[in-house]
Subunit: 349 residues, 2 copies
Amino acid sequence: MESAIPEHLRTARTRHRRVPDDYAPPYPSFVARHKPSVERVVMAYFGIQTRDASSKAAEQATARIASCLESDGGPTHWDRARYIDEAGFTNVVTVAYWDDRAKFDDWFPAARNGWTGDQRATDGYGRFIEALYPSVEGYETLFSSLGRPEGIAVLADNMSGEIQEHAYWGGMRDRIPLSQTSEMTPAGAARAIRDGSRIRVVPHDNVCLIRSGQDWGDTEASERKMYLEDVEPILREGMDFLRDNGRSIGCYANRYMTVVAPDGTPTEKSYGMSWWKSLAALERWAESHPTHVRIFGAAMKYLSTLGPAAKLRLYHEVTVARADEQFFEYLDCHPQTGMLNAVQTVNAA
Amino acid sequence: MESAIPEHLRTARTRHRRVPDDYAPPYPSFVARHKPSVERVVMAYFGIQTRDASSKAAEQATARIASCLESDGGPTHWDRARYIDEAGFTNVVTVAYWDDRAKFDDWFPAARNGWTGDQRATDGYGRFIEALYPSVEGYETLFSSLGRPEGIAVLADNMSGEIQEHAYWGGMRDRIPLSQTSEMTPAGAARAIRDGSRIRVVPHDNVCLIRSGQDWGDTEASERKMYLEDVEPILREGMDFLRDNGRSIGCYANRYMTVVAPDGTPTEKSYGMSWWKSLAALERWAESHPTHVRIFGAAMKYLSTLGPAAKLRLYHEVTVARADEQFFEYLDCHPQTGMLNAVQTVNAA
């Protein structure tokens, strides 16, 4: 048993963990371990938004971002997902990961310019960039099993052994190294600056992002049926609640997406990705909102029925970022897109 | 909105609350407020255990303890409950409350002597005393509505306004004033000393007691049906789990009892009363064990269906006590009784 917080990120605490030192979780979970030399990572979401799911222009743009990601200085890992949003638009979201901020900084200006750079352009589809550059103290990961890393964990040096800080409410916070000394409360107010068709969101401190995924590709017969019939519909209800009513509880935006293969066909992986006013708001939803309590109940029943034989893979990554570790830009997107929900838009001076 | 911790018990914190200062609970709850002059209370459970539910001797003993409680120095409030335990014995448990330790100390020796004093006596029924004398820093209460205090709250000066620390996991701990500076971890090992037919349990520090009750006397038609058919059976399952399998998760003993009127007839009130190795063990069960997650889910569904119209009353009191704030004595009881589960019994030297 080891701490989710690696040795080199442990610090003199001013804030306590929620569980006693002899706490033993009832089942194993694992976290990604970077090399100690990694100080900061980048998670950058490049989105396309179109009313016409088969838009040629959008398809070309998607291909363009892919070739840009494969160019010099591009990310170590990226994947792509698709969903239809609350306004009926198809969104294709490509997320790219770096563990070297300087490399990203060299690469990004041209990529940004090609993506959201032309504030007059209207090619019939919206584009957005949502990026975080957290220090390694500012995020955590969690995996239900080894052998198939996802997201930022693909860049990790390896996976941990069984970690202690999980399977209790508050484990998410306790896994983030910053929690040793910080409450990570939101501070300041987000604002938006419009420049032509482009809106830049200047966020507040300690916005929280979760990417929470499931992979049912390895499940067979009865387990697959149980996931698809007993768990997924309840998960979807919760995701829909956050998408449609999340604002009332501090969730700015939620996207429940299907991961797609390079050729655009859907895989047997999905993830929910949501922006929150604070880690605390995410905690409250997870712990006590009927929609997530049902998800938790369904997942618990599933896992306790199947035990270690379960082939479903679950993971997440949760980040809390300072205002200067965030970047949001929306071009020709509808007003319910992502962090646009966090602000009243004003025109540039 | 006010803190569950009254002004005069607030202290410089070394440990933080689990929620941010701007946390707003989704529904109201209340706590009991003693006069600031109250420094310590007593909660003393006097039990009778008999194989024959209609034993005359047990009935006489029950009457005897009642008259003792009504004598000079007796408690300010007491009530009585009944249940059939895991070994098939009928237990009648009378719980008495004082808010003046000195008064209790004067009263108790004669009462104890009359109850568990004669270590040779075998009248065909077992007797036990389980008592805590916590300082007001060492326990908390919670009520879903005003107007009908139960347990230690009957002795309170009044009830609070709407309090902040509830409706999240960790609220129980955050309401206990000691949590401002202490983790309240268990320390030491409980042991038992046999003296004839009587066993005295010398407990460890920070044993935890919860009394958690429900009163459906005011419910009508559809609400009553919903409580009795949708909630109570799930509550009972959880109570049975703790009774039969609680040891595996740190619950020494659980009694799910029906409150009885002075003439012994059942009322429309019940409460679960359980002894725990630690507050942390109680937290873990409540938050993540399937049996309590189901109770929580059923209660949430009930309350969200009925909203403020719900007539069901819920309350609890949770205490964490030092070893010297506890007293346990069992005479002719079966070995699965109460804190006897916490120890290996040894003979007196």
